[in-house]
Symmetry: C2
Subunit: 468 residues, 2 copies
Amino acid sequence: MLNAADTAFADELKRAGIATRPATDHYVTEMRGNYRGLSEVVALPASTEEVAQIVRLCSEARVGLIPFGGGTGLVAGQVAPEGAAPLVLSLERMTAIRAAYPEENTLIAEAGATLADIQSAAEDVNRLFPLSYGSQGSARIGGALSVNSGGINVLRYGPARELCLGVEAVLPNGDILHGLKRLRKDNTGYDLRNLLIGSEGTLGVITAAALKLFPRPAHVATAFIAVPDPAEALDLLSLFRDNTGDSISAFELISARSFAFLRATYPDMRLPFDEDPEWCVLVELGTGPSTDAETLLGETFEKAMEANLATDARLAQSGQQRAEFWAVRETIPEANRKIGAIASHDIALPVGEVPAFLAEADREIAVLFPMRINVFGHLGDDNLHYNIFPPEGESRQAYRDKAPRVTRRIHDLVMARGGTFSAEHGVGRAKIADLERYGDPTKLSAMRTIKQALDPHGIMNPGALFKD
Amino acid sequence: MLNAADTAFADELKRAGIATRPATDHYVTEMRGNYRGLSEVVALPASTEEVAQIVRLCSEARVGLIPFGGGTGLVAGQVAPEGAAPLVLSLERMTAIRAAYPEENTLIAEAGATLADIQSAAEDVNRLFPLSYGSQGSARIGGALSVNSGGINVLRYGPARELCLGVEAVLPNGDILHGLKRLRKDNTGYDLRNLLIGSEGTLGVITAAALKLFPRPAHVATAFIAVPDPAEALDLLSLFRDNTGDSISAFELISARSFAFLRATYPDMRLPFDEDPEWCVLVELGTGPSTDAETLLGETFEKAMEANLATDARLAQSGQQRAEFWAVRETIPEANRKIGAIASHDIALPVGEVPAFLAEADREIAVLFPMRINVFGHLGDDNLHYNIFPPEGESRQAYRDKAPRVTRRIHDLVMARGGTFSAEHGVGRAKIADLERYGDPTKLSAMRTIKQALDPHGIMNPGALFKD
């Protein structure tokens, strides 16, 4: 049994020289408004040593703690609505870029640095840090690693996990793991880095990371391409792969419904097509100096037209227009939030299964009750956001009780095809039931064994990943 | 305390329907001849269920077992020269390619499939499986994953770890982990796949793996390029990166000493240069259909000449010549074995540190005693094989007692520069002392905690990674 992080514990932290503040809304609500955390106290360490000190105090007092980044997580990993109120350990003061090594394409960032901070530090040394998604201005790298987040460039550069060469972290006993190696190859014992990445703060607090940088592409070309349907979109992806080598950096699927929601919630936004196509993809190529990206994209589009894989296209004519194109894609989640989803699903499937799943889901989900479905996402990674909305003019509140049933059905269909119920958001608290239903029993048992061994008092993000 | 896998235990296995054989030389010697295992019995399971049955029997009888692949490991991870003789659990009968999915660029192989088998299965569906090194005809994928092996294409495609999407494995309690997901993104709990990969058989037996495939490059160009020294070789790598985008698939450093050893041991081998350059690199580019790889390589070489980063080159004029070029590179380790190394080192450094390390090591190592140094390896990954040989005409036996001192000094220099004492070979039994000397204490302690929790009886590859 854990104790609450109450004012007495806050006083203890203060006496130890740790800055604290009361847990305002920012720390206890999540973006979709489905959970409210009970935490009252936020600790604001300024150094890895202070993080270690906090963890030791929590361990001694049997007080739970939630490592807190930007608060942008979508599975309630950062808020505890039940149990003894945990301490919020916010990394917001640890935002330094400790060092950049452009000649070796690496950089060391503290856990509180936002993705945008890191992108900008990389740009300062003429390099690219490719982890990128809508909330990159507030999402912090520690949180991104804790859920192994993805975004729009996974296709080419991999998710957070693959962008991280090493971590510094504080383990549940308060010991500091010094693992900021900047090496591409290092086979010296168990891979604790990858165990911490994706463990959602339940095995330790990541305090800094050695990250991979990349050369910035010399030429970039970006286009919306209208496609007949998702099956043709996948054939188009194959065509792009065959035709452009490793130059595709993004391949995002967008449905007419996504455009309709944008028109309804952001009426001033410039959209690419006058008449929204049923399906389209947002494609980006990045090439070296010897290949003209626009020509390559144009040639590939011509081939796609000949093969009946594309019906129309809009090529960004400038850097500004490219930014506008991406703003369209990146605003879809916010438009969805304004419309108000009944249920959201972050699914991935083996690529061959995507079209069949979409057809099947249309047949089996759409008939459950009147609904609008908005499918969009990272088709290049076989990762779709499959979200369910009430009929036009109705509120999601009226449909709240229908969410579990539709989610169950969608996840059943996805899992039957070898897919996953969480591609890039994690499990947090929102998907524990799914993990227990669909997870391999041997995996779940090994996870519990590891958690119990490394965190015997259960202080690290209590209630996340595991049912208490 | 463990019990030996003796003839009585072999009889028990046979009664349970498990095929066995006596442990012949193949199972108890390692390539460099530095260790001899005590094992007497080899179990030959034909299925994952049989592996599970064997592990359960070992667990009940407190008998250790060594998961055994091709026997090509270089750190004695596969032979136990001390303690109660463990059972050798050879995966040699589990060699099936269970399925190939060319449209999604994945394939599922059983642990006993050799790298060459998998490369060939990928080729059959017009795809590339890029994990490649000299022993690929005998190295099995289970062993490759257990040490996270690397080879010549890591630069572009990553080591074994990054080529694996999911594993099936038997854990120390005999439970089967069903983790053969073929997904690029799946954030559902702890990353057991990466915990098993690189754990050198101490946490379980990998029985099958879901592996990534890639499109085969449309055009390939391969060249030996002579360079003034390793610092210029690194500048040349940057030039290639800047000039060719993501097209470089290999960048191998070779020293004049490597050529001299080849001339001495393989006098009939055709070598690229009449007069061996002090340093050269073997470069390979693979491009999509719209880029001519040879032209790109030629243009980049011209730029390198202008920048004084290259002095001469030999471009492979045919597929056959390309194979000859690679045979030169891949025969270096065998030539080294024939010459007889006093000590071998599999090191990696942050790239900026490589030239300074080589200069420093030349100063500090070469003066210890009369020796020949042969440096070669995967410069594109900052991974060098830094091997020490006796003076010409002398035997390595006379220098055996000097090996620990020179190894200690080399590893000290490497670690002081933020490098590693094992880049791609693992720790096994040969480098336990290094792991304990140089490893982060928090990491070592967490490793022991995990090992103890998942394998409380210590049956999985006893004596590897941990001092008993």
